[in-house]
Structure formats: structure tokens, C-alpha cells
Symmetry: C2
Subunit: 246 residues, 2 copies
């Protein structure tokens, strides 16, 4: 009764964690929050996302929570069993290898497409992003490194003149990130920077075939890392991969 007196607008303005000035919908806001929690590993794979709990903890109605959850389901981060619930997907070694293999095909296609259109801007921006990656690594910031690595490797797709390819890449890297989140705790080896350096050099070079070989080599390193890390207990992040996972 008295509670209902309080206007919805007022309640909305009070909600913690939400910028009221944003034109974004609640659905998008909640989806972003959930995506971060899933990708950062705060919500572990296999965990069920319970609408009523999330509704209370985030202070958002079940409707919005539900819509956000389905957005992540359609993105491949969650899986739904009708009338049973939605859970964070748990990727095994095979699934990760599949993702890397598919990414290889996409990336070879991507570079083949953009190769004749490269110009100074391409080289400058790609180099910029690589330098940002190096800076993040040297700062020892794990989260920033992950973001910078993503930003670096997303550039070819953004530069490619194919909207469908960009959309598939979006979906793909989300899942790859999820797999990486499952193997948290491993430290990037010193070869990590060098590997991405070789990748950049090949991308700026004049030999497309060499670039395609470099893509295969780069992703092979990622697959090897996955094999090492998935086989062992994720908690025992003792062994250090070469760190070219993304």
C-alpha cells in the first residue's frame, strides 16, 4: 500500500549501479552485467541463473532479467533446458578446439578479403592496438590485457568489409573468452608479446600466404594452451602457456 505510493520513476532513479541517463534498455544493461560476471568467472560454468534471485539482487523485475538471460543464451554463453533452468555453459577441450578451428577459417577469409585494401590507416591502427596490448601486459593488469588482446585481434574483422563476418566474430570471441575464463589462473608466458608481434608483422607485410600461415601458427599455440590447461585441474595453474589464447 504505502510502498506502492512510491513512484516507479523514483525507484528507477534510486537503483544502484545503473546510470539513469543512459538510453540503453534494462535488458541491455542487465545483459552486460551478467555477461561480465560470466566472462570473468564470477559465475562459474554449470551454475544455474535463477531469475527470482537475480531480480532481487539486481533490483530489476523478472521480465528484464528473463530477457537479458535469453540474450546470453542466444549468444551461446548460457544454455536453457525448458522448465528446468538456464545454466552457464561448460566448454570442454573438444568444444574449444572446434572454436579455434572455426576461428582459423574465419580469420584466413578475413585477411584474404582485406589484403588488397590495406592502407596506411590499417597499419597505423593495428600497430596502435598492439602497443596498447604491450602496455597492458607490462602493467601486469590481467583484465586490461584480456581487453587489449581482444581489441587487437578484433581489428581485422572491423576493417573487413563484411558485416556478416563481423557478427559471427562477435559471437565467436564471446565463447572463446568464456573458455579462457574457465582456465583462469595461468600466467601468460614471455612468448605472449612476441607471438602477437609476429602476427602484427605478418599482417603489415606483403606476403598473404605468410600471413595465412601465421594465423594457423598463432591459433595452434592457442589450441596447445587449451590442451595443457583443460587436461590439468584449472586450479593448478602452475604450468604457463605461451599465452596466445585469444
Amino acid at each position: 500500500m504505502t510502498a506502492s505510493r512510491k513512484t516507479r520513476a523514483a525507484r528507477a532513479r534510486e537503483l544502484p549501479g545503473f546510470k539513469t541517463s543512459l538510453p540503453k534498455t534494462r535488458r541491455a544493461q542487465v545483459a552486460e552485467i551478467l555477461r561480465k560476471h560470466v566472462l570473468s568467472g564470477k559465475i562459474e560454468p554449470g551454475t544455474q541463473l535463477i531469475e527470482s534471485r537475480l531480480s532481487r539482487s539486481l533490483g530489476v523485475s523478472r521480465s528484464s532479467i528473463r530477457e537479458a538471460i535469453w540474450e546470453l543464451v542466444d549468444q551461446g554463453l548460457l544454455v536453457n533446458r525448458p522448465y528446468a533452468g538456464t545454466f552457464v555453459v561448460s566448454l570442454d577441450e573438444k568444444a574449444m578446439c572446434d572454436l579455434f578451428a572455426l576461428r582459423g577459417a574465419l580469420e584466413r577469409f578475413c585477411f584474404t578479403e582485406l589484403w588488397p585494401r590495406r592502407n596506411e590507416t590499417f597499419g597505423a591502427e593495428f600497430t596502435n592496438r598492439h602497443e596498447a596490448l604491450v602496455a597492458a601486459v607490462e602493467a601486469g593488469d590481467e583484465d586490461k590485457t584480456l581487453a587489449a588482446e581482444l581489441h587487437f585481434h578484433s581489428f581485422p574483422y572491423q576493417y573487413a568489409d563484411n558485416q556478416a563476418l563481423r557478427e559471427v566474430w562477435e559471437q565467436l570471441y564471446n565463447r572463446i573468452q568464456l573458455g579462457i575464463a574457465m582456465t583462469r589462473g595461468f600466467t601468460r608466458g614471455s612468448e605472449f608479446v612476441e607471438n602477437n608481434r609476429r602476427y602484427l608483422d605478418a599482417a603489415l607485410g606483403d606476403d598473404l600466404e605468410a600471413m595465412l600461415r601465421e594465423i594457423d601458427r598463432h591459433l595452434q599455440i592457442g589450441v596447445d594452451d587449451v590442451r595443457d590447461l583443460m587436461g590439468a585441474d584449472p586450479r593448478t595453474g602452475a604450468q604457463t602457456g605461451a599465452g596466445a589464447a585469444l
Copy 2:
């Protein structure tokens, strides 16, 4: 058994037009209906899907309609502008060419993967699906032909041992079908059967490189058709493409 009687009674009370025996959710049922209407062209590209209208016409609550709509949005069949509405996507020539180019990359990857694993079953099933396609063409059934063509070209992806690839293909062919729906009215040329025959023969042959070339050739025909049909007014389906669109 009293419980089962009550359940049956409840199911008997359910809305007509829905198969009560299926455990499928309303979301899935509505999504399927809408998908059919969009892909068949009953709902033309650019049309806004109004939740309240669909709610009344289908006899389903607005919540379920909303969820189904968002499923199609995430599938790339609809596009949403916050607070403005969701509309059937309208693909232009460039978008279609992008889709075909991406499909080419996926299909080359697909065949490269499955090539060493082909066996008698592969050849038998692929041949079966091709014969079903030929039968549909000879029967003059447009809808059945489209379905058979899809079934035929989906087989390599189903045979490939890569779940991620299959999922991307699902999303891709939905959108390609949408593009085809936009160019309805054109009749498949006599070369259509022959083109798919060549495709099948290459897939059953021993030369992977020849198969990859065949993929490029096959999709190039599709792109040519799109260029012809998109440039002209879709209503004037006078000119007949070679008909290898899918």
C-alpha cells in the same frame, strides 16, 4: 492416475492450433510460426511486427510474443530499434554478397575438415538428399524444393565434427533464405539440377582441391543470381537465374 486425468483436461483446454503433445514452450511455437511467415515472405521485409496485434491474432500473451520476436532478432531475421519497434530485415545486394562470401569460407573449411573422414555412409546419405531434391524439382513444388535444397546443402555441416560450425551455419542459412524470400517469383533454370549434380559429384570424388573450386563456382552462381534479381524489381521475376542460390 487422477493427476494424469487433470493434466489431460488442462491440455484439452489449451488454445487451438498448438500441438499439446509437444513439450515445446510457447516461445518456441510462436517463434516457429513467425519464422515461417518471414521466410515465406508473408511478412514482407521492412514490416514492423506489432506485439499487441500479434498477441491478439495468435491468441498468445504479449510476453510470449516478445520472447519469440527477440529470438528472431538474435537470429538475424528481425532488427530492433529500442522504443521504436522490431522490423523484418531488408537485405540489399551487398549484404547478400557478404553472406555468400562468408558461406564460401565456411564451406571450404567444412569440406577440408570432413574430407579425410568420408565413408560409404557419407556418399549414400548425400546422394539420397540430392535425389530428394531432384524429385522435388520435378514435382514442381517450390516450397518442397527450397526445403530439399536446404536439406541437401546442410549435410556436409551435419557431417562435419564441429558443433560451432554447425551453429554458425544455422544462423547463416536462415538469413540466406530470407534473401531468397525477397526474390521470390523467379523460376529455377534447367541448370539448377545440373549445378547441384556437379556439386555432389565433386563431393564424392577424390580431389579436395576440385571440391573447393566447385564450392567457389557454385556460390558464384548464387551471387550472380542475386545480382540479377536484386537489381531488377522483384515483382518482375521474368528473368530466370541459374538457380543455385542456396
